[in-house]
């Protein structure tokens, strides 16, 4: 199954970029992440500093995603820490 053999890229912005020192993360193909909830769990294990944030949303293809939404490497996935525009 394609979903499990290609790693998934996750775009980072704002403080998540500062925390990781990177502008994108790679979720390995063998991590078994197929939903937003799964991604959040994986992030919590690998980047405990994210848990200190006021919130951390996941965007899929430029829209806010829900925990149950499925995700895969063909989508544009991004972490959205608390916004502060305006």
């Amino acid at each position: 199954m394609l979903l499990f053999i290609i790693a998934m890229n996750v775009l980072l912005f704002g403080i998540t970029r500062d925390i990781t020192g990177q502008s994108r993360l790679t979720v390995p193909a063998d991590a078994g992440v197929t939903t937003v909830a799964g991604l959040k769990q994986w992030l919590g294990m690998h980047y405990p500093a994210f848990k200190q944030l006021q919130s951390l949303a996941i965007a899929v293809d430029n829209d806010y995603a829900s925990d149950e939404d499925t995700i895969g490497p063909e989508q544009e996935i991004a972490l959205i820490p608390p916004v502060s525009g305006g």
């Binding site: 775009l11 912005f13 704002g14 403080i15 500062d18 200190q52 944030l53 006021q54 965007a59 430029n62 829209d63 806010y64 544009e76 991004a78 959205i80 820490p81 608390p82 916004v83 502060s84 525009g85 305006g86």
Partner: protein, 136 residues
């Protein structure tokens, strides 16, 4: 709809876009960089956007406003990059036949933009820098 991420905000351009013989009311909200936060002097700021998603979300909000109120035109413009105190960083512009709608839609758009559009502000003080709102 005029939906933009820009380096510099141009008020006249927005007014020229919104003004129309069928509109009697034009409202603007312009957010500018303040020189202090909780009494601490802000030296400068940096605005970072997730460009593609920010534009998508700004357009979505403009569409909601167009459906909620009888508007003639909507402009949602945000600046990105390094900014000095006193600089305009966000402009919401709304035109409509009557002022009730333009006032309400303008307020709605800036309130919602601040909640959901993926743009981040980093404030630089004398001794440190902070991503605004990041931590509880």
């Amino acid at each position: 709809m005029l939906i933009r991420l820009v380096e510099h905000i141009d008020l006249n351009e927005a007014f020229a876009y919104l003004n129309s013989p069928t509109a009697g009311a034009v409202n603007f909200f312009i957010g500018t960089v303040r020189n202090q936060t909780k009494g601490k002097e802000v030296l400068h700021l940096d605005f970072e956007a997730y460009d593609a998603m920010a534009l998508t979300q700004m357009e979505k909000l403009a569409n909601i406003a167009m459906h909620k109120w009888p508007l003639v035109g909507v402009a949602v413009i945000h600046a990105t990059g390094a900014k000095q105190p006193g600089t305009p960083v966000v402009l919401i512009g709304v035109s409509s036949a009557h002022r009730e709608a333009s006032f309400e839609a303008c307020r709605f758009l800036i309130d919602e933009l601040k909640k959901s559009v993926p743009i981040w502000k980093k404030e630089y003080f004398e001794d440190n820098s902070v991503w605004v709102n990041a931590h509880p």
